[in-house]
Symmetry: C2
Subunit: 353 residues, 2 copies
Amino acid sequence: MRDEAPDQRVQDIGEQGLLKRLQAFCPADIVGDDAAVLDVPVGRSLIVTTDVLVDRVHFSDRTTSPEDVGWRAAAANLSDLAAMGAMPLGITVGLGVPGDLAVNWVERLYQGLTDCLRQYGTVIVGGDVVRSPIITIAITAFGEADPNRIIRRSTARSGDAIVVTGIHGASRAGLELLLHPEQGQSLNPGDRTLLIQAHQRPKPRLDVLPVLWRLWDKEDAQNSKFKIQNSKFKIPLITGMDSSDGLADAVIQLCRASGIGARIERNQIPIPPMLIEWVTPEQAMNWALYGGEDFELVLCLPPEVAQILVDQLGDRAAMIGTTTLEPEVWLVDSSGSYPNERLTFEQGFQHFG
Amino acid sequence: MRDEAPDQRVQDIGEQGLLKRLQAFCPADIVGDDAAVLDVPVGRSLIVTTDVLVDRVHFSDRTTSPEDVGWRAAAANLSDLAAMGAMPLGITVGLGVPGDLAVNWVERLYQGLTDCLRQYGTVIVGGDVVRSPIITIAITAFGEADPNRIIRRSTARSGDAIVVTGIHGASRAGLELLLHPEQGQSLNPGDRTLLIQAHQRPKPRLDVLPVLWRLWDKEDAQNSKFKIQNSKFKIPLITGMDSSDGLADAVIQLCRASGIGARIERNQIPIPPMLIEWVTPEQAMNWALYGGEDFELVLCLPPEVAQILVDQLGDRAAMIGTTTLEPEVWLVDSSGSYPNERLTFEQGFQHFG
């Protein structure tokens, strides 16, 4: 289909023509009404999240193919579902495109979206296509979760262990290589590809959820300890969010929402090992804390439970610190090489405008 | 709050600052996590629809205040839910805004959104705010419906009566008055206001759904007739969609999806009576058929059931024609003043680009 008319523009086939082409990426039984029909399993809560991506603000042809834009957009939304403890039911895609955009660009975007969704067993269930002077992609993702096991931001308590999945800083490092291909000459080609892939094809951590759930299901000694720890709540609580806006931001947000603080151990933060060959330790730490878009999970759990989780996830997770009553977030170095540093939103946020 | 800093721009308070201001328009218990949590009643299907609106493509400061942009955006999505037979559970709002946009503009947009939602007992449950060179509003609406009473486009059969709610052409006429205030001098001020309101504050026809459901619930003679009519299906079916893209478009879409045709009686189409004092009958009919944005329901039902529905809705509905085996849509005039006219998509659609 793609090679039939490679120069075809959106304005050549019109909004309806484009919609028809894009329906090929949706399940046939879902297309063709004013709205999509989904079933939420009995007894499960519906989880809803939405993201808007704008050309030249959130992505760029320089670093991202249309397929990668699609993958990243899907992954970001699925990551928000994972951060709530929800498995995906589907997404809708609202698309604004200039009339002179190549139809092929849009089809490649949808290819990337569906490639990512397929990995996680879900689909595009609906959408809208409109004319816009700038490419705009608005995704809403739906998931379903056990109402008693929803992961929230506000339920951490002082003394919780802070667990992160995966590594941090890889996405930002990959972006650097895409923006400045002359950099990172000391990296071997395999490591280079891994970093770039981390930026272009991030993986939402839906795989962590079944491991978390097993902690509750298992009637073993550790689990009853956990239940006792949480006995002042009716149900055990999991606290967490994803690190899409950076690891520092996630820790600060969790602490603020829960009314507590944290001490993060600098040496415990998992940083991609190949960065050591390429940039200074300070630069690597900066990317890990503030780079963002690693789409890992940051969780607060009673220390015993955190230990079991880390044991079960193996090198896919690490304990990086502890929550504190004092409502400040500190980056500390037990080896004494660096002074303690207070983490604040100001360092972490890209300001608007 | 609005008068405190009337000149404040989005870039002055940043994305996070704006988000915080907008959270005042959402229920407090829903704000602050990666995603919103909703409950779908047991045994009900989740209905999802999405729309994207772009400044200067779908709305304009010339004809529409920010409150009206919000109202219309909410109404369009609730209308899609009504067209599926679904009652609303909530909406998400994905917003792209230039940094130099007045914060007050965004607050007024959200005021219009929530004013409309409140009328229909629903709320904003989540959203995203990003920087964009052009104001873009992406709304996803969620509703819940009885899985056996979902209104679809593809289930009409030849011999069905075609019922429309409300009047058609009023929204397009109101737009004309906004674009050319010097027009319509013959209209009295009350009628003028009614037409402009039809454009600025359209009403999704969620009120029709309980009337439709009662047709199924009542165990009276007409109802059993209806059940017999539909006996080749396991459950009674309602066919329909909304007329957001025009009445002609709706009839053509329903016929195409159901593999049938229709004959529409020109004199039965309910047109706002005040148009007769203002424009030619041909102009009024053109606006009624192709103007769009009236957000009424177009339904195909067995004639006996259609008659009961029209009787119950009173002047809020009319029977305008019949579906036919022959897969073409004709506008006919039984009084003989106009020749039969075949309706096609080409007349109805705004082309893209």
